[in-house]
Symmetry: D3
């Protein structure tokens, strides 16, 4: 079985029930999530051997975070225990014209105060095929960026494929700082994942003016951005997702993969959203799975987009779908008919 390591932060997610606003909440659903943890869970649900690396406090809230992913078969034996707190994010689900809101309360979390010698990357990467992280991890602090760099070097030494989802978070760092740090890290990255804004936010890479109008312009802009990213860092593959937000309840969702000088565009899905948080991460997991399993470009991007389409219908950060379910949707059955 292919083995994947992901590294980052897992937070306690506190969300009022249903569509209640923060001001109405007298209880919070308590789940856990974070970019790289989400990817690990999704890969475990696909049947891969996924291991998540982070640092969590030794108290019960830290233990609950461990359990939240161990439950789905993610290997948690590489998680370091220590530090003071589990980062928290509060999530209010939007509806119609009212947007979802996230309030972060993650300063001082165990992983954000981790130090290099917390992690023995040579040991962690033993027998590993793929290493994944996102732009959120180095944004947690320069100490974490250093750890991330160390991990990239160790992975590269072992010939492990490295993927990175740019995932720019403006609350965590400035564009300038992000650009500096991510430029260094991206030297080690093989597969770059981004949404339609990340390339611009992090690297100031924008699509050239194109005089093609309507829906087609997206395709051209995609191609242009992907090529520029590939030129700058020598990525072996670049994947870009496109979300079209009609309302908080309804989104369009599609993506493109640029690989071996070919562009592969996925189908576009009209999604009636249950929970869109973790949508990008489920795309990343779908892409890692399909590339690790040798899918060709078109099938790879269709798998990744179908996987993330399904994620939008599932509560919580984690994508709880099997390979069969993804393949069924990617194969064209999106009618939602009851399966008995």
């Amino acid at each position: 079985m292919k083995k994947v390591i992901t590294f980052g932060e897992i937070m306690l997610r506190l969300a009022p029930e249903g569509y209640y606003r923060f001001l109405q909440a007298d209880k919070y659903g308590a789940t856990y999530g974070g970019g790289e943890a989400n990817v690990a869970v999704s890969l475990a649900n696909f049947g891969l051997d996924a291991s998540f690396v982070t640092k969590l406090p030794s108290h019960e809230i830290g233990e609950a975070a461990v359990n939240s992913i161990r439950r789905f078969g993610v290997d948690t034996s590489m998680i370091v225990r220590g530090g003071e707190r589990v980062g928290i994010y509060f999530l209010e689900k939007g509806a119609s014209q009212r947007p979802s809101k996230v309030i972060y309360d993650r300063a001082g979390s165990s992983i954000s105060t981790a130090i290099k010698r917390d992690f023995d990357w040579d040991n962690i990467f033993e027998g590993v095929d793929w290493f994944h992280f996102t732009g959120i991890t180095p944004a947690l602090g320069d100490n974490v960026a250093d750890i991330c760099l160390e991990a990239c070097k160790a992975a590269k030494n072992k010939g492990i494929t490295i993927s990175c989802d740019l995932n720019y978070r403006k609350k965590l760092w400035s564009r300038e700082h992000a650009c500096k740090i991510m430029s260094e890290l991206c030297k080690y990255v093989d597969v770059c994942i981004a949404n339609e804004e990340d390339a611009s936010d992090v690297f100031d890479i924008k699509a050239e003016h194109t005089n093609i109008n309507g829906g087609i312009i997206d395709h051209e802009a995609y191609r242009d951005v992907a090529k520029k990213l590939e030129n700058k860092f020598g990525f072996k593959a670049v994947a870009i997702t496109l979300r079209s937000s009609i309302s908080a309840n309804d989104n369009k969702w599609a993506a493109m993969l640029y690989m071996n000088n070919e562009f592969y565009f996925s189908k576009s899905y009209n999604i009636h959203i249950i929970d869109r948080v973790g949508g990008g991460d489920s795309f990343g997991a779908g892409l890692i799975y399909s590339l690790l399993n040798g899918f060709d470009g078109q099938n790879a991007i269709e798998f990744a987009v179908a996987a993330s389409c399904l994620k939008h219908t599932i509560e919580g950060d984690f994508n709880m779908v099997t390979v069969d379910e993804v393949l069924k949707l990617a194969g064209g059955d999106g009618s939602g008919r009851v399966q008995r």
Copy 2:
């Protein structure tokens, strides 16, 4: 008051809250349902004297199943108590491209192990106007099919109208076995109800090739299938529902009635679904009500489709609507404006 008997299985339905997947469920909503029980409840809510016949264990879960329908006024005095267990079905509600899922756990239920002398049909049918069952009941086992046949004969002897919803369930029996058993039972049936696939699944009856295209083809196909069914079994009426599944959340819903050599097509509804399970059963109940009350063909099919349209907006298997509510919608008011 008109009196209707329905005969079949009522199961414990265990469904995670909202849109949670099975893997996320730490509690299950516990309701009860099953094709013929659903029809009985709907008819009781319409004000008819409806009685449901089945076998249920004598323990508290069996008692809870009895109470679940007695609550709405269904007569439960003909229910036999005994056997080992209440059949169960697990239901996961789908959303958008993710389909709803049903896992059946019904083997060994009391009704599926019932024997002929559990039921005294002459007594049960005393003063009864209509007898209804579905294709699920004989599929529970040849012992139950035999009981069903006995019931049909007894009903026929008393001049009771018999309706059957074909309701093919591939998990319960093969097409071949279904065809054999249902062909025998359908000899006694006056009103045949089917969805767009049942006639093909059970009797291999398919619409002839028609060179009419677009939306109109459905009408022709319907007509053709209904006529073939009528030819084969001499049904007095054939009703066929058509579900068009846009997604797990949005369906189109309409139906046709073939009676006295006339075809009646209903309006089509665009439904935003709350719970689609029991949709077909609510159609059957609407049809039984309207035919028992002498509605003409067009009004009968409009009533049945409006009733089942409303069912899709109600949680659980049971249709909780009054005759007035159905008539209001059938009469054209589907705006959903608040009624104060």
Copy 3:
């Protein structure tokens, strides 16, 4: 800070969870609401000094009603305590073609049995800029209509702007009685708010036949009704909301303001509804806020409609939105993208 007084009834609202019907409810969500209380809470959430005047029993249910609005900063020091009961309304949320249902159980509430000397209007109106009530308040009984009239006179004496939302409730009084009482009260009103049916229901004011067809006719009809209302009572401003009900889940929502001989039409919103109760009240609050803060006609009506658009996405009667959130939507951002 501008100070606003609203006067009316606040009721206990009992609503089954989610989309459950009354017949399925084994618990009721317990919140509080009522036209004028809703306006007061919305204004407090906008940062104004809002005070709600009513009468409530001295027991704990009455106290809970007080707390429900004090929580959001509404001044409750002018509420009189006494009488027998808190009025109740039961609310069943509709879906798709099934309408929402309200069952009122408000007879004998403390406010409906209040007497004139319960309220010292000179004291209540000290330092106040605006007084608001709706047509529901005088409909509670002639005793309450008398109190309302007294309040209007006291407000007028102090030069306080008076607004009234016509809000006709046919369960509370006849059209004839409403017309008589409201005609007297409207003499004191500066700003008249109505939905598309109120003017006709209360004053028998209907749009003249206009030979303009399609969507434009609404605009003409609006203009005509607003002018007639202005002619009859000398209102300084008339605002009319228009709801277009596609289903219980989906509505279109827009409004018009007639002021200083100009007509201002708002954008129209396609709303996926979470809870539409209190939608009109949130419009009134938005209008009061914008007019009190000197918004011009177009900005005033856009603010009021955007505010009430957002209300439709929030559970309960109360509009829990800030001025910034309303301005963001009024300014054009209705994409519902996650705000991190």
Copy 4:
């Protein structure tokens, strides 16, 4: 099967979850209950043919009240539909030194505004063995007291045994008025049920001074009160319950039966309370069951007290226990060991 009629009010019971106070409640558990309805449900659970007579509004809240008892097999076909509202009581569950609190909101309920010709007692009492009411029913209003008297006369004419639980409610009427009305009604009563305060509250009957001390005094006082009641009205049996309230969580519970000039004292139970509302009614039901089934005095009182002991462990007004469960406890097994 023995048939019992009970007559009275059934109310919507609104109770905060667990031990929340009214001021903390944002939802209410919604069940139904009332003295005579509770007796009917308990008898139906014992397997008797129990029918509850009342008047309820024709809307859905009234229907839900009907369903709440029909669910357990109570015959509801004699319930009259009409009037304005379902009476409500709010219940806050106490703990330790904090008492439970009841806030009644029952004025204007359908039954309290019923008139004589709503009920055709000759028809209602067809084939009936026992008629039961409590002192709450005539307290609802003189109109209801008149109906009650009419019922008693009709029952007496048919030779039906009549039981009455005195159940004095000071919020509903004065002691003087209660005495006057109840004295008239008690002339028809065969079996009188009272708690330790009712005889004094309603009839000013108090135990004579007895110079026996300690725990024994209760027995003497009981005997004295029972004899006086029997002397005054010629009851065939008098049953008195004694509750000893250690705290809101822990009560002692016992009773005495005076019949055929013999006194029978039950065991005393130390009860850890789940819900004590309806405790007295469950005693009444137990007594009716045991007397109807010819239990001797000692077995009758033990059955009644064991039944009501179990009620204290069950949420809601209704006693959900079988005859077997009661006999097991009455027979001495109160260890609470798991039954597998």
Copy 5:
């Protein structure tokens, strides 16, 4: 009306439902609490004019904290908005031999990072009769201790009575540091409140050896400690609570007041606990209320202990009881009988 200011931290309290352990929690009840906020709410529920002073972030979680106490009538107009986060504490409710557990996550909260000029004490103390804080507030950081000292000086200048609950928290500071800071603050304090361990923890004040045995020793030890505290700081009154923990569910609870050279001992209560957090704070509030209203020593301590006894029966940090309820219990009625 008497006016009281309290100053300290209010935290978000996250507690699993019922008796679930942290490792089982998939939702958290979200309430708010903290020593001084709890006192303010309790005083507001007693009808006093209570104002709580703190610093809270300007986002919605901060707003929800404000609303949580404003709801009960606490004046929140002196709360400063700013800083980064609301402190959090996780609470797991214990049972029987399993203790309750608190995990604090309060570092970096807005109040703990407040600075002197955030608070204008001269303005805050305008028209105030009493100022209360606990030992937790200065333990939040030396910056907060400085603010506290400034507040004490300002209060003293205005002749305001100052009370302090020692409330030692070992997770926040060492005994040495606590002793140093609290010794400085206590110079300004008039009324000192402590539990049976605080005097020893903070000031190393222990009861002298007494050769009186059994239950009486507590009384002597109390007297000794109170006298020593009074000697050291010149307090006008010293109150000490005594908790005797039989299990997580059952505690004994009593207290002593030393005032004007007299010792007053309260009754002792056997409490079946619903929620013991905030028990000490409710005692403080009871004492402040009774002293502010001129109760004599015995009545004052009985009121305070009865108030806090009732708190143990109420979910959440806040004491939701009225003066009447406390007086009833202090007066001897602890039977917990239903109040109708």
Copy 6:
């Protein structure tokens, strides 16, 4: 780290909320449990390497059962997937005199239909120190008893310590059949665990008449039974638990260990019960842990009893306690004081 294998059935446990009876349940808490799975989870929570062996269907309910224990770190890689269903047990929690009730619905579960070649015991026992099963496993069917025997032989061959909890279930097999099968299996067992009734139920071993009275008789009876068990099967250790059921809420709990010809009696705990299911299993896990870690006899039995005492305070079958928590209680701190 010590490695333990347990083998048996894990069932879906469906329990109404709180103290609701089955007849009132409209939802069921869904957890998982079973004797040997409970032991495995408890051991994993103690930090051991615990692996649970069973057979579960490949559908989502089976997967959820796997996840329920994987979450706590139990190794699930030896679980075989296949068969038709997950066994179910319904649990109604009792209170006071009302006992808890269990309704089993486990016939036809995957493990009960397993065959020998489903399990490769040589592989399973690689590196294992201890093997544990209970009398429930062989009671599932002779096929499972055969598998159990095979496992015992394989374990014995590898020198693995074997423990068995007799755990007689009368619903599963007769005493005669149990005696025959268990006698064969017990030949391989090193450590025998039983409750006060098992030895009599399974092996007809009863304490000799002893003329020692009062509480001491239990000790003598224990000794006698333990010796007889040891004599019959040559167990290295025999542990017997004693439950004294005061009511469904309150039990006394203690145990004895007989090892190396010495008798060790534990403290006795008065437990206020939250959930007593799994109490015996948590004792077994405590004993395995303490013996594997070389505790002496007295410490071993104190650890096991303290662990199981804590289990009674925790919802669900699983014991969620750490070694530190157990040691703290075993060491004498059972006061339940809040731990901050």
